[in-house]
């Protein structure tokens, strides 16, 4: 009997030795005369367990991890190929609490199937959404997406259906679907997991979008830091063409949809939709004024839907199961599920897809198990480099677009980065400004100049020079950047800075030479008496 083994081919799994493990499994099976097939699935998103090896048994798939190549012979000794007991055995994969507690809709197949097998995709419900969409009028498809309550998962949270409606109504000889796969936020990897673990769902979502709004061409703009995702997606596109799921006659419907994968070139700003369009056109990724919206005048001046990977990858299940199925998950105006990415200094980092409403505390402690270092948690940054730093006291904030806005933060693309008590928030605030200076496209002054001035003024504050007046200046500068920047880069860089000032004022008020960084001290020795008002807190508010 053939034994079926799964070893992830996801970039994160490969980064900790999955290829070596897969080779060792094949070699060891050969040595023992066992017939075995090794499927390179995507990742289940339980990254502290990678490489996570699974074996198909009568009890379902049994998981082992984290597996090293050296451990593989011992696994065979323990009869792992029949689901045998071993110290690394985690039991049935679906019963692992981290996974069992999730509601996986967008990621239903990720880590389960062979990402480059169309038959596998079809067996697991693939292309049912497109099949239904092809029986509907364009307005009906758009209405279904609108009714599902799906909001853009890239960061801005704009209702996807409304965007589609605008493009559908626009008159043009050519329209485009552009997928924003420039997942630049630190702490995020969900787009990458989809492209590597279930690429056909993205292709299907884009095809549905094209049929809905009357666009016959699509582009995926993949960041160059994701060479593996780029290769996987390209192979999936080739397979979809071969099987008639892309091209001049999609599934014999007489409708055309062509798809091309393009590579970015290491510019964070190209995650901003208008910069991305400029970049696709072969220009510097300088942002455009809005209006006109890309939905009216987008790629090459034509009406264009620009959606994030996760938004497009969620469309097939909405079409397949219906708008109300999806809308029934979630809270308030945040409907459906949110794939959260938990990373940084956390024991169990990974992908957590649940209905909106999970609190940060539940996420970090129940799922994440606290810090990886074992030291006390001090700060959590949510929403990437432009997201706010939250202190422990705000961990009961639910993951919901509006709840985060109320705390002067943003959910963004759902990245959550945990820091222990060695973090220096003044340095993190400085980094936010430095990052903005490095990545600014240069079009508007608040961002281009403001970020550099921001680094300088934070340096002065850290050095203790005219602290009070420089704090006032920094707050003024942040106000200006918030109000006067052209796009979210300059406009949101103040979020991490102001939240650091608001919640961690003590880090900006330290005698010369004292530093949290790398000294491992719980608190700097000069710590103010507890409970006393901090002199800088008033300025920060």
């Amino acid at each position: 009997m053939t034994i079926k083994v799964y070893v992830p081919g996801d970039a994160a799994a490969l980064s900790v030795g999955a290829d070596e493990v897969a080779a060792a499994v094949a070699r060891e099976a050969g040595n023992r005369g066992l017939t075995i097939t090794v499927t390179r699935n995507g990742s289940r998103g339980l990254f502290w367990l990678e490489p996570l090896v699974e074996v198909e048994t009568a009890r379902g798939r049994i998981a082992y991890g984290p597996v090293t190549a050296e451990e593989v012979p011992h696994l065979f000794d323990a009869g792992f190929h029949e689901g045998g007991e071993h110290a690394l055995c985690l039991g049935p994969t679906e019963e692992i609490p981290y996974l069992k507690a999730q509601e996986r809709l967008t990621f239903a197949r990720c880590g389960v199937i062979d990402p480059l097998s169309l038959p596998d995709y079809l067996v697991h419900g693939g292309y049912r959404g497109l099949e239904r969409a092809l029986t509907m009028r364009p307005e009906q498809i758009v209405e279904e997406v609108t009714a599902s309550g799906l909001r853009g998962r890239g960061g801005a949270g704009f209702p996807t259906g409304i965007k589609w409606q605008t493009v559908l109504r626009a008159e043009a000889d050519q329209k485009y679907i552009v997928c924003n796969a420039d997942e630049g936020d630190s702490g995020t990897f969900a787009d990458r997991m989809i492209m590597e673990g279930d690429p056909f769902v993205l292709i299907e979502g884009m095809t549905i979008a094209g049929i809905a709004v009357g666009a016959t061409r699509g582009y995926v703009y993949v960041r160059s830091e994701y060479p593996h995702a780029f290769r996987m997606l390209k192979r999936a596109v080739d397979l979809a063409y071969d099987q008639g799921y892309l091209g001049a006659d999609v599934c014999g419907s007489g409708r055309a949809f062509d798809l091309e994968i393009r590579l970015g070139a290491g510019a964070y700003i190209c995650g901003e939709e208008t910069s991305l369009l400029e970049s696709l056109e072969g220009k510097r990724g300088v942002i455009r004024f809005k209006p006109p919206l890309p939905a009216i005048k987008g790629l090459f001046g034509k009406p264009t839907v620009v959606n994030n990977v996760l938004s497009l990858a969620t469309v097939p299940i909405i079409l397949d199961r219906g708008a109300s199925f999806y809308r029934d998950f979630g809270m308030g105006r945040s409907r459906g599920t949110l794939p959260v990415q938990l990373g940084g200094n956390v024991k169990r980092g990974g992908l957590v897809e649940t209905a909106f409403g999970l609190t940060l505390r539940e996420l970090i402690y129940d799922f994440g198990g606290g810090t990886a270092s074992g030291r006390p948690l001090r700060a959590v940054q949510v929403g990437g480099p432009l997201g706010a730093y939250f202190p422990e006291s705000l961990l009961d904030t639910p993951l919901d677009y509006e709840a985060f806005a109320a705390q002067k933060g943003m959910l963004g693309h759902g990245g959550v980065v945990v820091f222990d008590d060695t973090v220096d928030l003044a340095q993190q605030a400085r980094f936010a400004m430095e990052f903005c200076a490095i990545e600014s496209c240069g079009k508007c002054t608040p961002c281009r100049i403001g970020s550099t001035r921001g680094v300088e003024v934070i340096d002065k504050i850290i050095a203790g020079r005219d602290r009070e007046s420089n704090l006032e200046l920094l707050n003024d500068l942040c106000d200006l950047m918030l109000d006067a920047s052209l796009c979210a880069l300059g406009g949101l860089t103040p979020y991490p800075v102001l939240s650091a000032l608001r919640h961690f004022p003590e880090d900006f008020d330290r005698p010369k030479g004292a530093s949290r960084q790398g000294n491992g001290m719980r608190r700097p020795s000069h710590a103010r008496p507890t409970g006393g008002p901090s002199p800088s807190a008033g300025v920060a508010e």
Binding site: A12, L14, E183, D185, F189, Y226, A265, A267, G518
Partner: protein, 158 residues
């Protein structure tokens, strides 16, 4: 990294293959960098001519994007992530270590041409931080010891 030395005929043929694509400039620049390891300044007029752009426009695009190099890199290219998730797991120690061992800061090449070090902002491996990419291959949970081993192995292979 198996880059070939600059050669005009090869560059022209790569440009010809791609110049009809809509928005062909980035694909062309990537193709040239894949081939030669950098964009030679002699390529600028060739690209400008093929795409009917000014040389200034081509230069502007090359200089805008962090990926494009205008000088040949070392035999190996190490990208160290210095974004927040990797910061929380000590990527500063990796940068310090490389600086001490090779006397290079991000953007520089070691004097023996064996290694170019670049800073990147997120490799999408934030749950296995800190992360680095060596010659296009991603590594996670990297300590200074692991980093030394990776670099030594790469350097011994050429």
């Amino acid at each position: 990294m198996r880059a070939v030395t600059w050669n005009r005929e090869l560059a022209e043929s790569r440009i010809r293959e791609l110049q009809e694509l809509p928005g062909a400039l980035l694909p062309i620049l990537h193709a040239l960098q894949d081939e030669f390891g950098y964009i030679d300044k002699a390529a600028v007029p060739l690209i400008a001519d093929a795409l009917n752009l000014s040389q200034a426009e081509v230069h502007g695009v090359i200089s805008f994007y962090h990926d494009f190099r205008t000088r040949p890199p070392g035999r190996h290219v190490l990208k160290i992530c210095r974004a927040e998730a990797c910061q929380s797991m000590g990527c500063r120690a990796l940068l310090d270590h490389v600086r001490n061992r090779f006397q290079v800061t991000p953007g520089e090449t070691a004097s023996d041409q064996s290694l170019t070090v670049e800073a990147v902002y997120c490799l999408g491996n934030c749950a296995c931080a800190p992360a680095v990419m060596l010659d296009g291959k991603l590594y996670g949970r990297v300590s200074t010891e692991i980093l030394d081993r990776l670099i030594d192995r790469a350097r011994s292979e050429t």
